[in-house]
Symmetry: C2
Amino acid sequence: MTLKEFAKILKLSPTTVSRALMGYSDVSPKTRQRVLRMAEHYKYTPNTTAARLKRGKADVVGLFLPSQPGAFEDPFFLKLIAGIGEQLAERENDLLLLAPTEKQKEIALLEKMVRSNQVDGVILARPTVLDARVEFLIDHNFPFVCHGRTQGTRPYAYLDIDGKSAFHEACLRLVHFGHRRIAFLNAKPNMRFALDRFAGYKQALEEAGIPFDINLVLEGQMNESFGREASQSLMQQAVPPTAFLCATDRIAIGALRGIQLLGLQAGTDISIIGYDDLPMSSHCTPPLTTLHQLIPEAGKRMTEMLFALIDGHPIEGLQEIWQATLIKRESDGPVTTR
Amino acid sequence: MTLKEFAKILKLSPTTVSRALMGYSDVSPKTRQRVLRMAEHYKYTPNTTAARLKRGKADVVGLFLPSQPGAFEDPFFLKLIAGIGEQLAERENDLLLLAPTEKQKEIALLEKMVRSNQVDGVILARPTVLDARVEFLIDHNFPFVCHGRTQGTRPYAYLDIDGKSAFHEACLRLVHFGHRRIAFLNAKPNMRFALDRFAGYKQALEEAGIPFDINLVLEGQMNESFGREASQSLMQQAVPPTAFLCATDRIAIGALRGIQLLGLQAGTDISIIGYDDLPMSSHCTPPLTTLHQLIPEAGKRMTEMLFALIDGHPIEGLQEIWQATLIKRESDGPVTTR
DNA sequence: CTGTTAGCGCTTTCAG
DNA sequence: CTGAAAGCGCTAACAG
């Protein structure tokens, strides 16, 4: 049913019906009541496409998904979506997924979005050190919010987790347990967050007066295989580490497995700390000490920030850094003397 | 830039430009070349909203997300999205996420979609035994494909995994290992797949001549806590089970943890089999024997099926059942005599 | 092969 | 407070 038809039934002009539906004040309460009631009854909903064309706004927000297939294996994006969705509903906006593929490259996809008015703004996550998407969106002055910072200098709206503080705290915890040979299993340094986490680790070592040993740092994929292999290889050193600080829980779980295969026990023989607090992490053996971040809440807040941007607010004030929380469980503890 | 402006630059009519861009045959190759080249140069992309309004098609597909927050903790939907996205790109369609919230209920959301022409079709997953969404979409004759079947009788397009065969095979494996007291940790029976999996388990027992014991079946949330508690409680029985068949890997991982806490070892003392083949599952201790399904491939195929439906194909032929694959690892083995 | 014309269904000035 | 009229930017008959 179209507005015209519906208006005819009510013996009103399309104009009045439209205004009543949009909750404008310049329509008598009685008429509005009737329109609302009848819309319910006849199940009339305005055609979104037409409204969008007229208003020049899509009422749709895009979420950029990672292009690496492996990235689909952690719940980060789904949790983020849960938060985004909640906030989106407040303004009756929708969420469009931007999934780059082999054919549809990242920038081509964004270009299409920016040019075709399909979305009013975009949410990104996990930027690289110099993220092409971020640069593109700044260049085109298109509203977007990023979960995480890049190395670029131009300002943009972001919500980031303070990875440096998080790993500083985690590393200090290991230091206080008496560890002095603390390995760091990091993500590849093209990810900005990897740099932050590394900085926290290094600073903690410095504060504790522990000399930094490059041989204790390994970088790889953020998955269990890397964790397992890296932990096993480090344990072969003449003076092996007594603790593993891992950039993600998946790496940590791999490390857990790695040292288990060497006949060692995490929590007593070796300490391990991760980051992400995956659902699994509290249920492995032993339960993993890890860092927890508020993902749905971040999604919600980022959406709010994006709406602000879309409404014309300046970027100032739309840059937030949140803290992660250390969740103490059983995969770490005092260093054991042998 | 609008089509009119762009056409003016080229000294052509909007019509010709539009047709050239859409690749219609009734435009001279020379003109088409020029239009395409100039569009590239001036970075002109047609306004999607306007095109949609005109054509009466959204070129958008909706994906219904689960409303229970807990459901966000497994990678199923993200993997599905990966497959859907790939196929969507083939037709330049987009993916709209339908995330029901407290305020925006499932059916209200669907109603809006059906009425507002925002999406041409919908993809659902994990239906309940009598799924309200499925019923609604059938009632309204709206194109949709569901990952899984319901208990309803009216036909609709689906792609389902043969959970019965999968659990039949898994249970038979345990039987061949000599197990006779095989526990089944299932999801709640309002989920259709839970019924299928249970049927497979029960049939295998029957074929093996093992009497069904209701006390060996527990139903609960599909998470680790349920697995841990259920396994521990069952181990307290006078004659405890020697094997656990679990409806999901998360339940299995919980069971793994549960029996570990009782001082028993999975794979030797007790056998455990899960379903999902989560990334984690090959990295726990011991690596989990489980059932693997092709999720991205299913997403891709479902999207194809949805396009067929949107293009007017009948439902016949758009109902597929795929098999899961048993991944043999180390969490199960021959029953041990004590 | 190309251009003219008429809407798609809605929102929003502008009058009344 | 309500209605008439003018498009938003595009596509598709229909002529030429």
